[in-house]
């Protein structure tokens, strides 16, 4: 290894070595390697959960600080969760004290008091534990240079989770800044098992620094299987309710079980039904991101104290917090993404070198196939890798503003600095200049703000804030997480006003007095809205009237879709249960099974309507977009579509007329043309615009409670800004950013294009007389989207004629 520095021996100071020996522990091989390579500019450690990953990251720091000569900040630790930062503080402070090392360790997150924060800037600790947002805030202060001048190492924990998100992009831009403030700064990334470590290394390292990748022994294969139930899974649905008795049996057999769900709504429903049959009153809790913090903390405390047999949860428990003695993970519903599955299973087990145990529960018949494919992928150790992406420009705009808060900068320097961040290596100067202009003047074709520019260029060429007081406002808007507008839910004041959690504003707007819904495992009755809080009361009803509220819907990964399509090519499926096997054989007999390089389109009449099914296997978001595009095209062709529904693998469209030749409908040029028109005036675009506009600093984040209490909308809808820009400044950079973001986010047009490219003109249209086996579950799928088009008009006219005939008014 060329980077091995003979001056850095793998040995530890006696105090540290002694601490290990006294406990009968030895330093893991990968921890030794990290010590040997401690001088490398960038290291990425891939290790399973429980592999002493964090200690491996910190050991070089402990060694370098052991003699007590370093002044000021030495190591910065960044984790995606503030809870994780607090956790690491505890787990690191204890051994450091036991070793008797002269090291000060502090954390700094949104929860830290402003007094402590001020003190930390004046007198930083040796090791500071923080989050990407808190770090972005730190580099925005003019004294950042002094604070970080002596910084030696930065450790990014759970870098795999950050690498795919805008939070990661923001962090890497902050690291680019740190590398400038502290030349010689060494970067360390700690990651769970990933498919493509090199992709993460590229994002982590300062371009063009090399990054050494260390892969620790991944440990034994996880013990993972499918939960077999006597009853076959239902044809559709996502809740896994049928499996509750079997799940409860497993909970009884194990010490502590985590029961993961893909959405909050499903977790709520499952938890509710589980308690209805929990006759032994086993202590089982629920945990998800929409619950009030008080509620979550109660569950977390009970969990740490070992008081719970099981927790029904969502991704809010996904990152590496030490939950004690979990010996079983149950995943309800297909995992959609193999990597997420493996990482969840890792949670089950914080003991190194012992296999973790997990069970998957397919929620419906198709998911049984999906779960089988996912299990094959886990056994083959192939994970999904979609990490490479160009750095988003809204995050870049925010970073430019952050840098301006810290002090004057030269555009050339900042451009070079930004290009040293992996995701922005390919950024071209013209794009950077557009973003800078946007930050400075708004970037409008109409130069209206000469007088009020946010940034101005001084005579010496340096860019600076025109009005330094604006820094406060910019700092208040730092961050890249933009939640849908949420409203707090609590019991009515007369009943104590206990907070229960939050729901999306959209969901709240649909509620009417007396509606009942589930939150925190309780059924509550909607009473009204007061000061932007949803007030509810307890209700004796057992069945919630409105079953769900919105939650994240993950799309099946490309890799998993490909595995399913590969399975379809087999002659037989001996490892599938008989009912599912028969189902696939029947589909092959009456129609055909979808193939990877072809697009299967079925059409058939059913129940007085014409139906078209396209099996694109492009994931839920892309199939949804496909449904919108195809129905728009059908409307133009006079085919009277009435609605559609999408899953991860197919879109079902119904309407009054058969589709004719579907190759016309699905032709690539055709769809891209429709896409352009459709995109412009679409709710998804408006939602994306709002999120990007907040990140880029065009509009402010809504401050909780601010301005809205009076009910007077001092602010107006961001949709108006979007419409105005489209009309009067269609080439504005914010519209380009919105389009880019939508294409790879909710619209996911990239996957449609990829599918169309792969398929070419190989479209197989099967005209059938009735519903096919593979299409049947689609009829039960929730989330049907009606098309308000000409079909309505024709139906009304037909019905009117029928009524007139029946009444004998027309012959």
């Amino acid at each position: 290894m060329t980077l091995h520095d003979p001056a850095m021996s793998p040995d530890l100071p006696p105090a540290v070595e002694g601490w290990f020996t006294a406990r009968g522990w030895s330093v893991h091989p990968h921890q030794r390697q990290m010590l040997e390579l401690a001088r490398a500019p960038c290291q990425l450690l891939i290790a399973p959960t429980g592999g002493g990953k964090t200690m491996a990251g910190f050991l070089p720091t402990l060694r370098e600080l052991a003699d007590g000569t370093h002044e000021g900040l030495h190591t910065l630790y960044v984790s995606p969760l503030k809870a994780l930062a607090a956790d690491i503080k505890r787990n690191l402070t204890a051994p450091v004290e036991e070793m008797g090392l002269p090291i000060r360790i502090e954390d700094r997150t949104g929860d830290t008091s402003s007094h402590t924060k001020r003190r930390q800037r004046a007198d930083p600790p040796h090791i500071l534990l923080t989050t990407p947002e808190s770090l972005a805030l730190l580099i925005s202060y003019p004294d950042a240079g002094r604070m970080f001048a002596g910084l030696e190492r930065v450790i990014v924990d759970e870098v795999h989770a950050l690498a795919e998100s805008k939070r990661g992009d923001q962090l890497m831009l902050a690291l680019a800044r740190l590398s400038k403030l502290a030349p010689g700064l060494r970067r360390v990334g700690l990651s769970a098992t990933v498919e493509d470590p090199a992709a993460i290394a590229r994002i982590l390292a300062r371009n063009p620094d090399p990054c050494t990748i260390l892969e620790a022994d991944p440990g034994p294969d996880p013990d993972i299987g499918m939960l077999v139930t006597e009853e076959p899974p239902p044809w559709s649905g996502g809740g896994g309710k049928y499996a509750i008795p079997a799940v409860l049996e497993e909970v009884k057999k194990h010490k502590t079980t985590l029961i993961f769900h893909n959405t909050r709504a499903q977790a709520e429903l499952f938890f509710h039904h589980l308690w209805l049959i929990n006759e032994d009153q086993l202590p089982i809790g629920i945990h998800h991101g929409a619950l009030a913090r008080e509620q979550r903390e109660k569950v977390e405390a009970a969990m740490v104290a070992g008081e719970l047999k099981a927790i029904v949860c969502t991704g809010s428990l996904d990152l590496g917090i030490d939950w004690g003695d979990v010996d079983l993970v149950i995943q309800v519903g297909a995992p959609k993404n193999v990597k997420r599955l493996v990482q969840r299973i890792g949670r089950a087990n914080h003991r190194y070198n012992a296999p973790s145990k997990a069970l998957i529960v397919p929620a419906n018949r198709f998911e049984l196939i999906e779960c089988t494919a996912a299990l094959d992928a886990v056994r083959a150790r192939t994970l999904d890798g979609d990490t490479d992406h160009a750095g988003p420009l809204d995050v870049l705009c925010q970073h430019i503003l952050i840098c301006a808060c810290a002090g004057p900068f030269a555009a050339d320097d900042l451009f070079a600095e930004i290009r040293s961040a992996g995701a922005y290596t390919d950024l071209d100067r013209a794009t950077f200049d557009r973003c800078l202009d946007f930050c400075a003047t708004g970037g409008y074709a109409l130069r209206a703000y000469d007088q009020w520019q946010r940034l101005i260029r001084r005579p010496d060429g340096m860019w600076t804030l025109r009005d330094p007081r604006r820094a406060t406002r910019i700092r208040m808007n730092i961050g890249t997480i933009v939640d849908a507008d949420k409203m707090a839910v609590r019991y009515q004041k007369t009943r104590g006003g206990t907070p229960l959690g939050e729901v999306e504003e959209y969901f709240a707007s649909m509620l009417r007095k007396g509606d009942t819904f589930l939150i925190g495992g309780k059924i509550v009755r909607y009473e009204g809205m007061r000061d932007m809080v949803v007030e509810v009361s307890r209700t004796p009803y057992l069945k919630p009237k409105i079953a769900t509220f919105m939650g994240t819907k993950f799309a099946t990964s490309t890799q998993l879709s490909d595995r399913i399509l590969a399975m379809f090519r087999q002659d037989d499926w001996p490892n599938l249960p008989a009912h599912t096997r028969d189902w696939l054989h029947l589909q092959r007999r009456v129609s055909r099974l979808p193939e990877r390089d072809r697009l299967l389109v079925e059409s058939f009449p059913h129940d007085g309507r014409e139906h078209v099914v396209a099996y694109g296997f492009a994931g839920r978001n892309a199939q949804q977009t496909l449904g919108l595009l195809i129905t728009k095209r059908m409307e133009e062709m006079g085919l009277n579509p009435m609605g559609f529904v999408s899953t991860d693998y197919a879109t079902l469209i119904w309407g009054l007329d058969p589709p004719g030749d579907p190759t016309l409908l699905f032709s690539r040029d055709n769809l891209i043309e429709v896409m352009e028109d459709w995109l412009a005036d679409n709710a998804v675009m408006k939602r994306t615009f709002k999120a990007s506009a907040i990140i880029a600093g065009l509009i402010d984040r809504a401050m909780p409670g601010a301005a809205r209490k009076t009910g007077r909308q001092a602010t107006f809808s961001t949709d108006i800004l979007y419409d105005t820009l489209r009309k009067y400044d269609p080439d504005h950079v914010m519209l380009d950013i919105t389009r880019q973001e939508a294409m790879r986010g909710l619209v996911d047009f990239g996957r449609i294009e990829e599918m169309l490219d792969r398929v070419g003109d190989r479209i197989d249209h099967m005209r059938l007389t009735r519903v096919t086996p593979l299409a049947a579950p689609l009829f039960l799928e929730p989330g049907r989207i009606p098309i308000a088009g000409l079909a309505d008009q024709r139906l009304m006219e037909e019905e009117a004629t029928r009524l007139l005939l029946t009444a004998g008014l027309v012959k």
Partner: protein
């Protein structure tokens, strides 16, 4: 023109899809709360640089209402400018557009809380104006009847097939009409808020404005 015609104090009036009110017998067009120059004021006071096109968008809409109705008199019912400095800062092309709209007709600026003083853009500046028996003022006066006002930016919410839709609206009862904000960058106040509920007596109506070129829809005023 897709207006909604109704009778108020014995006069026949029309609510236009844009939120303007037209009085055909007087050939009078009335618009309220234009808030011209809002983006300029926000930039000046908060440092946010919103798309600076709302003045143009608002004047474009006003121009098409004027073309469609050919009014003799135009009343801007107050808060025509987001503040007086915004009126002064109006760019040259917007001033020209406005001058073209004002040419050849009687143009009245009623003063509002945002624009209490006169502006140097021509037209007449007044606290209020009475024509026949109808008074035009910025803020409703609870003790008076036969009045047309603005100020509150009323909007209403209806729920249809599980969808909640919110739109600007004109409020009408026997005593008064409250017009919605006409300006592009304006929000609204739900008409079930106490301020508006207290002003309007049943049977009050809310005339919803579904969008450009869509006929306004009267409903009982939600309370």
């Amino acid at each position: 023109m897709n207006g909604h015609a109704f009778t108020f104090a014995g006069h026949s009036l029309t609510a236009l899809p844009s939120g303007a009110l037209y009085w055909a017998d007087e050939r009078l067009l009335c618009v309220s709360d234009l808030h011209l120059g809002k983006s300029d004021r926000i930039a000046r006071r908060e440092g946010r640089l919103l798309p600076p096109y709302e003045t143009r968008a608002t004047l474009d809409r006003l121009a098409s209402d004027i073309t469609a109705t050919g009014p003799k008199t135009v009343i801007c019912l107050g808060d025509s400018f987001d503040d007086l400095a915004a009126a002064e800062a109006m760019e040259e092309s917007a001033r020209d557009d406005l001058a073209r709209l004002m040419a050849g007709r009687h143009w009245v600026w009623i003063e509002g809380n945002h624009d209490p003083g006169p502006v140097d853009l021509g037209g007449t500046h007044r606290a209020d104006l009475t024509l026949q028996d109808i008074t035009f003022r910025h803020i409703a006066n609870p003790g008076k009847t036969h009045e047309v006002s603005g100020h509150y930016h009323p909007k209403a919410r209806i729920t249809a097939r599980g969808r909640s839709l919110s739109r600007r609206c004109v409020l009408v009862d026997g005593a008064r009409i409250i017009l919605p904000a006409y300006g592009t960058y304006t929000g609204g106040l739900y008409c079930d808020r106490p301020e508006l509920s207290a002003l309007m007596q049943d049977p009050a109506r809310a005339i919803l404005l579904p969008g450009p070129d869509r006929a306004p829809l009267p409903i009982p005023m939600p309370r």
